[in-house]
Assembly symmetry: C2
Homo-oligomer: 148 residues x 2
């Protein structure tokens, strides 16, 4: 799943008549470099570069970027949202054992299904929860060893 440059996104902001501030530029960079962080995590990373940035700014910026369709919120099974750039159609594979999230491109069939319904698609995101290869083989080893 491809990487976007925060620079492009900053230009998007300007083109759409929104102001480009130090905070927005920074947050876009943090989100572009790290997929599916939650608001606290984004705040924590942003503080490394701009210690006095407030959590409220993070939320306000996330809401702005959502309106502009530059970022999207995903649930990932947690009671709070995680955020990522609106990338090409992709699927989140969420391992319910280790919690790791892997992104893979979504088959075009998914988008087709929506279009068949007369839907004008903005973005596609899927979530598959299950057990990843690593955790599955670990489980099997443990079973063989007799440890339940």
């Amino acid at each position: 799943v491809s990487k976007k440059h925060a620079v492009e996104l900053v230009n998007q902001l300007r083109r759409r008549g929104k102001r480009v501030t130090r905070e927005r530029e920074l947050l876009l960079r943090v989100i572009a470099d790290n997929a599916h962080l939650d608001a606290e995590e984004i705040h924590r990373l942003a503080r490394r570069e701009h210690p006095q940035i407030g959590l409220a700014t993070v939320y306000r910026t996330l809401n702005l970027l959502k309106e502009l369709d530059l970022v999207t919120a995903v649930g990932l099974g947690e009671p709070h949202s995680h955020f990522e750039l609106c990338a090409e159609d992709h699927i989140h594979l969420v391992c319910s054992t280790c919690g790791r999230v892997v992104d893979v491109p979504a088959p075009t069939a998914v988008r087709k299904v929506a279009e068949r319904e007369g839907f004008c698609v903005h973005r596609v995101s899927a979530e598959i929860s299950g057990t990843c290869r690593t955790c599955t083989s670990r489980q099997i080893k443990r079973e063989k060893a007799g440890t339940t």
Copy 2:
């Protein structure tokens, strides 16, 4: 997307060693009959039949049902979760204009993608946001009329 009977689900509870209470049975029925409600909405509907049921019980039950993989939480772009029975693989088409959600079956290709990664799939849920047919044609009409 098929309908499950709350009865089956209640049996699942018993089989898995969880107690079957009036509250759990009621909440399962509410969730089975109404896809993607949020916790407040579930609570409100449940109260029609059992006025003194508490919101905390709703949350506790939802968490239990999630652990048993009987229900699943979906984001739908809101800052709080919505809940639905774990049905067959399906896609939520969320109209960002009118907010309506339509469920359509997911192509098997989606699940295949995860299996190719060595993933042992528990459940599949996708979200496509966009503009539904109705809202799209309404917009076109408005454009023709000259109203921006």
